[in-house]
């Protein structure tokens, strides 16, 4: 196999992995703070992809320009969902949380099926077919843009948790819930903001992914599963871990596909998941409990 092939495949895997990482960030942030696993994660992202698609088809707004609108919309959806439903489940047993969020997932997927039908739909941008050439290295322009924006969004999220008052308060809730309540933090509101921020991450990832893949309602199951694999590999609750997990999975799929058989590439992400669970169950950047 020529070096050129590996160079291109590794770079492609790295760029795609960054977008995967951003998608998993939302899942990880919600779990890290509230200890709730959002089983409607992939469905929310596909809903974000459809929102961006509608904005493109109806208003001609490109997914990149639609990014703040979709992220804002998803923040609101996440906030309201937490207030109305998830908040009531925080004290409930895990299987109740699982069933309730699975129910939300089914409602979203079937709603999208009713509204948009089962066929794949995508956006055609002026630069959809463009690529950058650096000698033997060819970089897909859309993938580069998506990865750069994903990196920036991840940086913003980190800054939010590290430097803003509300971000610090959310971290306080995650570190010591009783302590947070004692000092008078409005935990319910902070949880709602966290769920909203997690959903906004998904909104950004949805807009970026729409530039890379065509959307159809059944995509949601794939992405929920992928999100879980990434956060488990990276470390549940760790933001850096989610990003690293995304990159690792992106690379594993790319290299596995090129070394063995492309149609078996998913096998490598699942294989990695099993390996991590066996040798480092807390994930690459997770904390040992």
């Amino acid at each position: 196999m020529p070096l050129e092939l590996y160079l291109n495949v590794i770079t492609g895997g790295l760029l795609t992995g960054l977008v995967y990482g951003l998608m998993a960030l939302g899942l990880s942030a919600i779990f890290g703070v509230m200890r709730i696993v959002n089983f409607a994660h992939g469905d929310m992202m596909v809903a974000a992809m459809y929102a961006a698609l509608v904005l493109f088809n109806v208003q001609g707004i490109t997914p990149l320009a639609a990014l703040p609108i979709v992220a804002g919309g998803l923040f609101l959806v996440g906030y309201v969902l937490q207030r109305l439903l998830v908040n009531r489940l925080i004290q409930a047993t895990e299987h109740i949380q699982f069933l309730a969020l699975l129910g939300v997932a089914m409602v979203i997927t079937n709603g999208m099926l009713m509204a948009f039908g089962p066929d794949a739909q995508g956006v055609l941008l002026d630069y959809s077919f463009d690529s950058y050439s650096f000698g033997p290295l060819i970089l897909d322009k859309v993938r580069v843009i998506a990865a750069v924006v994903a990196g920036m969004a991840a940086l913003l999220l980190w800054a939010f948790f590290a430097y803003t008052r509300i971000g610090k308060a959310i971290r306080a809730c995650a570190d010591n819930l009783t302590g947070a309540r004692v000092v008078g933090l409005d935990v319910d509101r902070l949880y709602a903001v966290t769920f909203g921020v997690g959903a906004a991450c998904v909104g950004v990832a949805g807009c970026l992914l729409l530039m890379l893949v065509d959307v159809h309602p059944h995509l949601s199951t794939d992405y929920t599963l992928l999100g879980f694999i990434i956060v488990i590999v990276g470390g549940l609750g760790s933001l850096g871990g989610a990003l690293l997990g995304g990159v690792v999975i992106g690379l594993a799929e790319a290299l596995g596909g090129v070394l063995v058989e492309p149609s078996l590439k998913s096998m490598f992400s699942f294989g990695l998941l099993i390996l991590i669970l066996l040798i480092r169950p807390e994930g690459l950047m997770g904390k040992r409990t």
């Binding site: 050129e4 291109n8 077919f129 690529s131 060819i138 322009k141 890379l212 790319a254 492309p262 149609s263």
Partner: protein, 419 residues
């Protein structure tokens, strides 16, 4: 789905006591008057039991076939054939197909037509033979169906062996017509039962056909793949002359899009017989990059007047849908049944089967000689065409006698496609 005047529902209609009484009285008067029954029958339209997978995993293709059947009613009426469709959904399930076929026969279908997939077609063929009702197969490629010694089963569609041979032989014809020969190919195929059976067929038939090129790499991809970047990178690295593909629609779009991005421009992108690259959505999504892709499939004969009529009616009725071979073969199946009914002069199954056996239809829509059936009920006058996308339209480039344009091989580089 649009309603067509000649269509009747397959569900049985309850008969009221009054209607029964009126009918019985009319029947008695008719018998008493001594009016010849035969002239009454001649005025009666042919009832065609249409069995297609309009739901389930084959729904999209089943619905495409249904469009061909629906359009046949007004077009055949213009040609003096009165046809009524009795529509039944096989739900992409052979058992449902069998039950629906029995139901259609009970409800008075003169002839059955369908069923797109080989498994359902084989099941319905058994029912037709058992009940002694003629069955015209629109699509269904399993060779075994016409090897059973059936007397009531007629197929106007190439067997999978005919399809494979036809599709591969055309590679040589393309090389001869353009004076350019390829030495190597990479085969990229969808990893499902269709893709794998095509791959098996290609590997088996290629040595027999003495083709001048060798397959240097075979790449299977997941039918649900979100993108094909990796697969196309691997194909590019093989550095072959031809990119041979077995695709469906969405993956064909993903593949070509990725080929453009990765600046991978082989001498040709040619399918030995699979859907995707001749479909409207392919042109709509890829624009100028859809051009020069070639598919070797049975296709409409541009020289046939009836093909033009069908295309005009189709574009008017379904402007958003692709005018492709499923529509043509379904139309021809109804045409064959209507032609036999006219010659038989009655809906008697034996007479219809005899008339079907004696079929000879020169004015048809697909490429090939006159429609005729051999002793097994198979039409052997069917031929694949090389259909190349030129100026945003699937265009017949081979065989020469049906060609609308000359084949372009090698295809121009992606960057040389202009605006």
């Amino acid at each position: 789905m649009s309603k067509t005047k000649g269509t009747i529902a397959s569900a049985s209609t309850p008969i009221s006591r009054r209607a029964f009484g009126t009918g019985a009285a009319a029947g008695a008067m008719l018998l008493a008057s001594g009016m010849p029954i035969r002239s009454l029958r001649a005025a009666e339209p042919l009832r065609v039991g249409v069995l297609l997978p309009r739901s389930g995993h084959l729904a999209l293709i089943g619905q495409a076939c249904q469009r061909g059947a629906e359009l046949s009613v007004p077009i055949l009426a213009d040609l003096g054939h009165q046809v009524q469709l009795m529509n039944a959904d096989t739900e992409s399930n052979p058992d449902v197909g069998r039950t629906q076929a029995e139901k259609l026969i009970r409800e008075g279908a003169h002839v059955l037509m369908g069923c797109f997939d080989s498994a359902t077609t084989a099941a319905v063929a058994q029912v037709a033979e058992q009940k002694g009702v003629p069955f015209v197969i629109n699509i269904g490629a399993d060779p075994a169906i016409t090897e059973q010694g059936y007397k009531f089963v007629f197929r106007n569609f190439p067997t999978s062996v005919m399809l494979g041979m036809g599709g591969l032989k055309l590679f040589n014809d393309i090389f001869q017509a353009t004076g350019t020969t390829a030495k190597t190919a990479v085969l990229m195929h969808v990893n499902d039962s269709f893709g794998n059976s095509m791959r098996g067929g290609i590997e088996k038939l290629m040595p027999k056909l003495n083709l001048p090129f060798q397959i240097v790499e075979t790449i299977a991809y997941d039918p649900k793949a979100r993108d094909l970047a990796l697969e196309v990178s691997k194909a590019k690295a093989a550095n072959a002359d031809i990119h041979m593909v077995v695709t469906r629609l969405n993956d064909a779009i993903l593949m070509v899009r990725e080929m453009v991005k990765q600046q991978y421009a082989p001498m040709g992108i040619i399918s030995p017989g699979s859907p995707g690259m001749y479909e409207k959505q392919f042109f709509k999504t890829l624009g100028k990059y859809a051009n020069y892709c070639t598919t070797n499939v049975p296709w409409f004969d541009p020289n046939q007047k009836l093909a033009k009529v069908l295309e005009e009616r189709f574009e008017k009725a379904y402007p958003e849908e692709s005018f492709e071979l499923n529509i043509g073969f379904t139309f021809e199946a109804v045409l064959i049944a209507a032609d036999a009914y006219k010659r038989a002069g009655s809906g008697n199954p034996q007479a219809l089967a005899e008339a079907l056996r004696a079929t000879s239809i020169a004015d048809r829509v697909m490429i090939g000689g006159p429609i005729k059936f051999n002793e097994k009920g198979q039409n052997e006058n069917l031929r694949s065409a090389a259909v190349q996308n030129l100026d945003g339209k699937p265009t017949v480039v081979l065989p020469t006698e049906s060609a609308q344009a000359k084949p372009v091989f090698p295809m121009p580089d992606w960057k040389a496609r202009g605006a």
